[in-house]
Each structure stands twice: as structure tokens, then as C-alpha cells.
Amino acid sequence: MSSHMKTRIRKQTRSRTATGAGGDERGRVRTARRSAGGGRAPDRGRGASRRARERYGSRVGRPGFVWAVPATVFFGLFAITPLIMVAALSFTSWSGLGPPRFVGVDNWTRVFADPVMIESVWLSLLVTFLGVAVQTPLSVLLGVWAAGQQRNRAVLSAIYFVPLLLSTTAVSVLWRAVLDPNFGVPSRAAWLFGDGNLFGTQAGAIGVLAFVSTWQFTPFHTLIHQGAARAVPRVLYEAAEIDGAGRVRQFFHITLPQLRNSVITSTILMVVGGLTTFETVLILTQGGPGTDTTITAYYMYQKAFKGFDFGAGAAVALVLVVAATLVSLIVVRVSGYDRMRSDMEGVS
């Protein structure tokens, strides 16, 4: 229901802006939308009457719930059931053979008494934080730059795009080869890399992980910001120009505030991606040296599929689920479905 109302509101704002001057269209859409949200009561009234009319008028021609059943059943079976089972399995002992055996909170006490697990949580947070701290400024700058109209920028953007075509596996394998301690680039550039083994220390290994995910995902976030930067009304810059604001000031006072939504969206995606980093660790560092880069998702994989301690693995997985759900709640609270959609429309 509410989605229909939203569509309607969007239509109204659109028709309102059509009468306005072309230049400050987006600004007007904003204010119109805000007023539509603020003055909710009359809207709801109109929506209700329309709803009533539709109930009598055009109930025919509407698909029944059966249309949604196959996909929902399939999703329930292969995504929701395992999600519920992960909670159940975390209270059992199971080695992969025979039926799981109930053991109470044993897995939980064991997992949280393991210093490697505690460290893995901190490492996950560190890797996530590094990803956001490095990629956000980089992708905002690149996105704003690529939003310009010059021809060479389009060519360069096409090259920037290539990392997105590679799978995470391929990216990790590629960088592992390029940074190989014996045959890679570092072995040939001792002046920059010292002994050439970047994987030998914790700081080096974490640096490699952060760098490789930056290399892989910055183009994606650049695309998000590029779309948003193109949508910034030019009239704002023209006004700033008249007021004598320089390029730096324009960036901080116009571009950045206008990119607020895309920054929120891309940050949330980075956090979810960072918390679930797995392939990069498996292929680049195997959690090492020692357990120095064993982040939570990798720890879970180790416990379950290398140690055949599936109960403990499930407990760790549940921690991941809770973290992801918290993030998703933030998604809904901070951005809302509507805006995510309009952000996606800005892309391409």
C-alpha cells in the first residue's frame, strides 16, 4: 500500500517541478518532497479515499498472492531455513557425519574463550575501518573528477572500470602473483619494499588486504559518486562562481554536501563488504602470518570446514548474522528504500 502512495507522491512532485525553471529542478524536487512528507495528514486522507475507490473499482485485473509463492518458497527453503538453522546448529556438536548432538551453550563458551576469535573480531573491524577510511575519500575524489565532461576522462574511466570485471578470486590470485615474495614486483624493487616479503608481518599483511580491496572496490564506489556528482545542479556552481568561491571551496561547500546520500550508501556497502571479507584472506594470507589476519569470516571457515567443528562455526556465523542485521537496520533507518532506488537510477 505505502509503496503506491510513495509512487503517487513522487508523481505529484514531478509534475510540480515540470512547471518550474529547468535549472533548479532538483532543488525543487527536494523541497517538494519534504513538504509532501511534512504535510502527511492530507496526503493520507487522499490516499485512503483512493484506496477505497480502487477496492471497489479495479480489484479485477490484480494478480493474486499465488504469483509470489514460488519465489518465496524457494527463498524460504534455501536462504531463510539455513538462517534459522544456523542458530539451532550453534547449540549442537556436529562433525559433518551423523546427526548433530545437542550440547547447550558449550560452543558459545568455547568460541568466546578463544583469543583467536576475539582477535578476529577486532581484525574484522580494523579491516572494515581501513577500507572505509581509504576508499571513501579516494572514490569521492575520483567520482567527482570522472563526472566532468572532458573526453580523456571518459577513456580513463573505462580503464578504471576493469577491476570490476574480475571476480574477487581472480583479483586475489592476480595480486598474490604480482606481490609474490620471490617472483613478484617487490622482489625487483628492494628500495621500496625492503626484503620483498609483504606477507611476513602483521602490518604488511593487513596493508596488503586493505590495498587489494581498495584496488578492487574503489571503481565501484567511484561509479556511485560519479552518478551523484553529475546530478548536482550546475546553477549552484555558477552562483558560487559569482560569489568568488574557488575550486576548493566549491568542492567542500557544494559538491560534498550534495554527495551526502551517495556517501551514506557506499559506506554501508563498504561496511557490509568489509565485515564479510573472506576470499581475499583465504587466497592472499591464509589468515597468517600465524593467526595475524584471521578475521571473523575466515575463522568461521577454519572452525567448520578445516576443524570439522560445525557447531562452533555456526556460533561464529550467528555473530556475523547479527552484525549484518544491525547494518541492515541502519540501512533502513538512515537511507530508506526510496532513496536507494533513486541513487541507483542516477548510475549508468
Binding site: F65, I80, L83
Partner: protein
């Protein structure tokens, strides 16, 4: 607008170009060099003479079969998504039933569930179903995890169809079924191509499900082939990189011929 060229930004973008280009350069040149050439003259040198042995070598270690397996999985996943999502999105957008809106909420919730979180019970379920080490056992969960983004994208596309079109068809006495086939499907072609590309990419690049749910060589997928190649022949870097290049060829082809659909499909990936 400020018309002065921004030299600082230009220089910065060139540095980034170098960072993006360097590994790609190493990748392409290395695959055309012999192993001894690569080891002797280092990763940055140009080929002494061009050889295609690395590519034929990759095929002889089984990449042809991995390729076919991956293609099978990709086709099945896309097929399942195309079978399940359009009716779902249609119901989400047009149905008046409470079930459809709760289903939509369920899929929105599913957006945030990472595959890592369910991998342990998935292993249990697939083993119990007798699908362990079977390509179908990879297809089912992969398709399931494509559904939330696909439903979101496609229902977004279907919302853009104006109500007056439905009303006109209702006036002609069209059934929901006829509206679906004659109105909704033709008008949401853009959304359909986005979810095709998105789910194909998910299947082609998927790693975690194949890693955990298959083990033998006959069911190996290409990403897993890369991973095993690295573990077993880690020092044959030109051969390894040739396999990497082969794995990205289909995606590159899509990039060249359907760039817009690919970008939108990729942005769908980000919605995950």
C-alpha cells in the same frame, strides 16, 4: 563553471591509473612469456618472444571442463531467477494481498544476509538432500541469494509502468495473466536484462558455495580452479595468470557488447 584545467586532480588520476594499470599490465604480458623468462627478467619486463603455451597449458590442466561446468551453473541460475523473479515482482507491484507485501519485506531483509553466515547449515542441508558435490547443489543456493537484489531491481522497473496502461487492459477484460505477458514483461525489458547480468555475474564469479559444496574435479568451477591452481602450481605464475585471463573473457565480452546492462548488473552486485 571553472574552466581552468585542474592539474592537481589530473596528476592524482594518473597515479591511480598507474595503480590500476600496473597489475593488468603484468597480467597480460606475463601470460605471453615463458616461465623461465618471467622468473629471470622479472614481472615488469616485456616478453622476449611471444608464446601462447600458458593458455594451452591452462586448458590441459582441466580449465576447459571448469569452463563448461561454470557455464552450466550460470545458465541454470539465470534460468531459475528468470522463472521465479518476474511473477514475484509482478505480485509485489500489483497484488493487493497481504502475502505479497510481507514477501517483499522478507526479501528486503534477505538483502543483508551474507552467504558466509549461512554456509554451515547450507552444507548440512545440501548434504542431507544428497546434492553434495553436485552442480545442482551449487545452483540452488546461488540462485536463492540472487533473489533479493533481483526482486528489488525488477519491482523497481515494473513500478514505472503507468497505471493507465493496466486500466486500459482491464477495460478490455484482460486477465492478470495476460497483462503480465503482454504488458508487464515487454515493458520491463531493461530491468530483466539487469537481473540477467547480475545473476550471471554472481554465478560466474561465485566462490564460497562451490568451495564448500563441491570437492571433485568433475564438478569444479572456474573460480575454484583458479584457487586450486594457485595452491598446487603457485610458482607457475604465467600459467596461473593465463587462467585468470581466461576466467574473465566472458565478462569482458559482455562488457564490450552490453556495457550499460553490465554496469547496472554490477551496481546490483553492490546492493548486496
Amino acid at each position: 563553471m571553472n574552466r581552468r584545467p585542474n592539474h592537481l586532480a589530473g596528476a592524482g588520476s594518473l597515479v591511480w591509473l598507474l595503480l590500476v594499470g600496473l597489475p593488468l599490465y603484468v597480467m597480460i604480458t606475463a601470460t605471453l612469456r615463458t616461465r623461465s623468462d618471467y622468473a629471470r627478467r622479472g614481472p615488469l619486463a616485456l616478453p622476449e618472444r611471444i608464446t601462447l603455451d600458458n593458455y594451452t597449458g591452462a586448458f590441459s590442466t582441466g580449465f576447459g571442463r571448469y569452463f563448461l561446468n561454470t557455464l552450466t551453473v550460470t545458465v541454470c541460475v539465470v534460468g531459475l531467477v528468470l522463472l521465479l523473479v518476474p511473477p514475484l515482482a509482478y505480485a509485489i507491484v500489483r497484488s493487493r494481498s497481504r502475502f505479497a507485501s510481507s514477501a517483499f519485506r522478507l526479501f528486503l531483509l534477505g538483502l543483508a544476509v551474507p552467504a558466509q553466515a549461512v554456509i554451515v547449515p547450507m552444507f548440512y542441508l545440501i548434504s542431507e538432500a544428497g546434492l553434495y558435490d553436485n552442480l545442482l547443489g551449487v545452483v540452488l543456493p546461488t540462485a536463492a541469494f540472487c533473489l533479493p537484489v533481483s526482486a528489488l531491481v525488477l519491482s523497481g522497473a515494473m513500478r514505472d509502468i503507468g497505471p493507465e496502461l493496466y486500466e486500459a487492459m482491464a477495460m478490455d477484460g484482460a486477465s492478470p495473466r495476460r497483462m503480465f505477458f503482454q504488458l508487464v514483461l515487454p515493458l520491463s525489458r531493461g530491468g530483466l536484462s539487469t537481473i540477467v547480468v547480475f545473476s550471471a555475474l554472481q554465478a560466474w564469479n561465485g566462490f564460497l558455495f562451490p568451495l564448500v559444496l563441491t570437492q571433485s574435479d568433475s564438478t569444479k568451477l572456474i573460480t575454484l580452479g583458479l584457487y586450486d591452481f594457485r595452491t598446487e602450481h603457485g610458482i607457475d605464475i604465467p600459467g596461473l595468470l593465463a587462467a585468470v585471463v581466461l576466467s574473465m573473457v566472458p565478462v569482458l565480452l559482455v562488457y564490450l557488447f552490453a556495457r550499460r546492462a553490465l554496469v547496472q548488473g554490477l551496481m546490483g552486485v553492490g546492493g548486496k
